[in-house]
């Protein structure tokens, strides 16, 4: 009951934040509010026993998305023009649909109902069979990487596509060279003592945490995607403090491109290896003599592929935005 009430409170906050985002004319405030929105959402997910999703939403929604929006805002005007005309029809239709959906909700199973059809059919099978078939503690990772590995392959390619798109449109990869790198102005906050020291202390821990998330995803919440996002957060912090030039010297764009493509290829190669070794596409059981060992190898390798691609793509995207004048 208490959880429910806390949940209701957080949800109300969510709605208020959403309204505030829509109403804010200052886009910087709107970006900050949307970061808060994502954090609130992540809290909600946590309350709803979805640890993996909460972690991802926090890393992606509050972290990466905010950084990207800020990077985008740096290149576009910071305030929204007002004075649009609003017809009565739009709000009316939208309110009607919302009411309709609320009306429909009365036919839905209520929150947490263990008898709901969604809890019956496929889900119990995963919970029951995972120890026996895949044998890793985190069932979410098992479903993500093995049972529905094809979806996750697709997910990696969605990320790669976004990277290709941003690099195609804004330069990066082998496309347009990063124009800003030629100048010497870019030194970040390296003249300011406190951020510099803080960052020097923090960055190694962030990167270490990312590696933990990467390789511990089978046991606790996390996996390649979250790890990639956190790793990228660390690097971005580094580049804020030490300047982008140094960052790019450490990890040049070509390496990022190879990481992005290589991760996706690694994932695909595991799939093809399944075929080559007599199983189906993305069948990990055939990768080793013992099916369970095979599953473990498969999951570790594809998670690595996911991590590589996500890191490569997100950093490329960040650099592409940052390098644009």
């Amino acid at each position: 009951m208490t959880t429910l009430l806390i949940g209701a409170f957080l949800l109300s906050l969510l709605v208020i934040t959403a309204v505030a985002i829509v109403r804010a004319t200052d886009l910087f405030s709107a970006v900050m509010l949307s970061g808060i929105f994502s954090l609130l959402m992540a809290l909600n997910f946590f309350l709803l026993d979805a640890a993996d999703v909460a972690l991802t939403e926090a890393a992606v929604g509050a972290g990466v998305a905010t950084v990207l929006l800020l990077a985008g805002l740096r290149l576009t005007p910071p305030t929204e023009a007002r004075g649009r005309s609003l017809r009565v029809l739009t709000p009316a239709v939208i309110a009607a649909v919302a009411l309709l959906m609320i009306y429909a909700s009365f036919g839905q199973p209520s929150l947490g109902d263990p008898q709901a059809p969604a809890q019956q059919h496929v889900a119990p099978w995963y919970i029951e069979k995972t120890p026996e078939l895949v044998d890793i503690p985190n069932i979410v990772t098992a479903v993500l990487a093995s049972y529905r590995g094809f979806d996750t392959l697709g997910e990696v390619f969605v990320v790669l596509t976004a990277g290709i798109g941003v690099m195609f449109l804004l330069g990066g990869g082998r496309g347009k060279p990063f124009s800003r790198l030629d100048s010497n102005v870019e030194e970040g906050l390296s003249r300011h003592l406190i951020p510099k020291v803080m960052a020097r202390l923090l960055v190694p821990f962030i990167l270490l945490f990312a590696l933990f998330i990467q390789f511990h995803g089978e046991y606790s919440p996390g996996g390649g995607f979250q790890a990639g996002a956190i790793f990228v957060a660390g690097i971005i912090l580094f580049s804020l403090v030490r300047g982008e030039r140094l960052t790019l010297a450490v990890i040049p764009p070509r390496v990022l491109l190879w990481m992005s493509a290589g991760g996706a290829l690694l994932y695909g190669a595991v799939g093809l290896a399944g075929i080559a070794m007599g199983g189906n596409f993305l069948d990990y059981s055939v990768l080793a003599d013992d099916p369970i060992t095979g599953q473990h190898i498969g999951i570790i390798v594809i998670e690595l592929g996911v991590g590589l691609t996500v890191t490569g793509v997100l950093l490329s995207i960040f650099h592409a935005f940052a390098a644009r004048d």
């Binding site: 959906m101 059809p117 093995s146 094809f150 798109g165 399944g274």
Partner: protein, 497 residues
């Protein structure tokens, strides 16, 4: 290891996994060549799959070795095979014919990214066609959409960017609506597999969430399929995309959305929701009819030949939607056939337009005056494909229009008005096509225009003619699309019997 057993997975994997290799290449030409080879390989796979489907029926494949509903199952029937042929054929045609045109649109350094996106778009569309899992459809839909946005944004006109932004917003809304619908169905059935869903929905028919789900899925996919009046993204996206991209997406991308629409509405809802087919008809037929008539009328007033053909596409999508909305055996046959035949005709038409623009550097009809005299071969192919679009006998377009008219004649009371609407729209197609053809043959070239330009290179001309003649071939010997459509209709209506 027998690769023939893995065709459904390879159909997606081959283009998808070639894409990362392509983006690592340095030279535009190599990237193009690799993409073309991968595309042709996919076409080969699609042909092999089609043969397999026609010989042994639906091809099932369990990704990862997990059987459905726990894992993701791929399932290829006649309808999927038809769509696969369209996707891979259109992509190969556009890549093969679009080399020169794309070299003008995209500079060499960015070309590897572009061709990578192209392959991902194609793989995504193939993925939608082969999968038997509702959420997997969403993933591939997003892959293909994101990649398609990139392809369209590569257009040289700055309006390509504003067009693609609108497409991105509407496309995401459509996909999200679809996801909501899938969520509601999952909520009531606990499964994501199409076949399993159809079985388990039986227990929960007529509950509010399922009806809401049908609404969300239908509207979301109608957005993606550009069914009138949800088509607002389409004309500008088609017009300002690079010409070769228009050839590709005009031939197949909306068809794939319609494919999912049919799959959901017929295999999942049709047998389970009482009166669903009536509701579906009541929703879709008026929209389809207004699309058929209004979009054709708008097409007449376009000054840009690409935009004209884009509005014509909206009208043709209306035909497909109308035929599907009849929810009858004959109607579905007509819809599936028209998907195939319209892709043939539109692909050829846009390929001809690509050739015109290659020589005259403009898509504005007044700039293209007299182009038919300078490019007689390409123009003749345009006329041929135009006839197929109108539905003249002997061309592929006639076959589907014939089925469509026979199907609407079965509708009690409404047969004659519907036939009249179809005929009126066909006549409007004559008008807008003829407006261009007449200007191309007899118009005075614009003063100062480049009148020295002559025909495009022989290989491109040959390709255009292969495409044009396929319109005639499938008009005289439509056994292949008929067999696939028949098999597809069988699986779609299987839920009824």
């Amino acid at each position: 290891m027998n690769l023939a057993d893995h065709l459904p997975a390879l159909q997606v994997a081959v283009p998808l996994l070639t894409a990362p290799l392509v983006i690592l290449l340095r030279a535009g030409f190599l990237a193009w060549l690799t993409a073309l080879v991968a595309s042709l390989a996919s076409l080969g796979l699609a042909i092999l799959l089609t043969v397999a489907v026609l010989e042994t029926g639906t091809q099932e494949y369990y990704v990862g070795g997990w059987e459905p509903p726990y894992g993701i199952a791929l399932s290829v029937d006649g309808l999927s095979a038809l769509v696969l042929l369209l996707i891979t054929g259109a992509s190969s045609l556009a890549l093969a014919g679009g080399r020169q045109s794309l070299r003008l649109d995209i500079d060499n350094r960015r070309a590897p990214m572009f061709y990578g996106a192209w392959l991902i778009a194609m793989a995504g569309l193939c993925g939608i066609a082969v999968t038997g899992d509702a959420f997997n459809v969403f993933v591939f839909m997003e892959i293909s959409s994101l990649a398609t946005y990139i392809l369209i944004a590569a257009g040289r006109d700055r309006r390509a960017l504003s067009a693609v932004f609108k497409y991105l917003i509407i496309g995401t809304i459509g996909a999200t609506f679809y996801l909501i619908g899938v969520g509601f169905i999952y909520m009531m059935t606990g499964t994501l597999n199409f076949a399993d869903m159809a079985l388990r929905l039986d227990d929960v028919i007529e509950t509010r969430p399922v009806i809401i789900a049908a609404g969300f899925i239908t509207i979301g996919l109608a957005l993606k399929a550009a069914i009138f009046p949800l088509h607002i993204w389409l004309p500008r996206a088609y017009t300002y995309a690079p010409n070769a991209v228009t050839v590709f997406i005009a031939a197949c991308s909306t068809k794939v959305a319609i494919y999912v629409l049919l799959r959901f509405n017929f295999t999942v809802f049709h047998g389970n929701l009482l009166g669903h087919s009536d509701l579906f008809s009541v929703f879709i037929i008026p929209l389809a009819l207004s699309g058929i008539l209004l979009a054709s009328a708008i097409a007449i007033y376009q000054g840009n030949v690409k935009k004209m053909l884009a509005f014509s596409s909206v009208a043709q999508i209306g035909y497909i939607a109308l035929a599907a909305g009849l929810a009858s055996q004959a109607g579905l046959m007509a819809a599936l056939l028209h998907m195939f035949n319209h892709a043939l005709a539109k692909g050829t038409l846009f390929l001809c337009v690509l050739a015109f623009i290659l020589t005259s550097r403009s898509a504005i009809i007044t700039d293209l005056h007299g182009i038919g005299r300078r490019m007689p071969w390409t123009m003749a192919a345009f006329v041929l494909a135009g006839l197929s679009l109108i539905g003249v006998p002997g061309t592929a377009g006639f076959i589907s229009k014939w089925y469509l008219i026979v199907a609407v004649m079965e509708v009690p009371g409404w047969g004659v008005p519907l036939v009249m609407a179809i005929i009126a729209s066909s006549l409007m197609a004559v008008v807008y096509l003829w407006k261009f053809i007449e200007a191309a043959y007899y118009g005075e070239p614009p003063p100062g225009g480049d009148t020295a330009a002559l025909e495009v290179t022989l290989p491109l001309r040959a390709l255009i003619w292969v495409a044009a003649l396929s319109n005639v071939y499938f008009g005289l010997f439509p056994q292949l699309p008929l067999a696939l459509a028949q098999s597809g209709t069988g699986t779609l209506l299987g839920g009824l019997n």
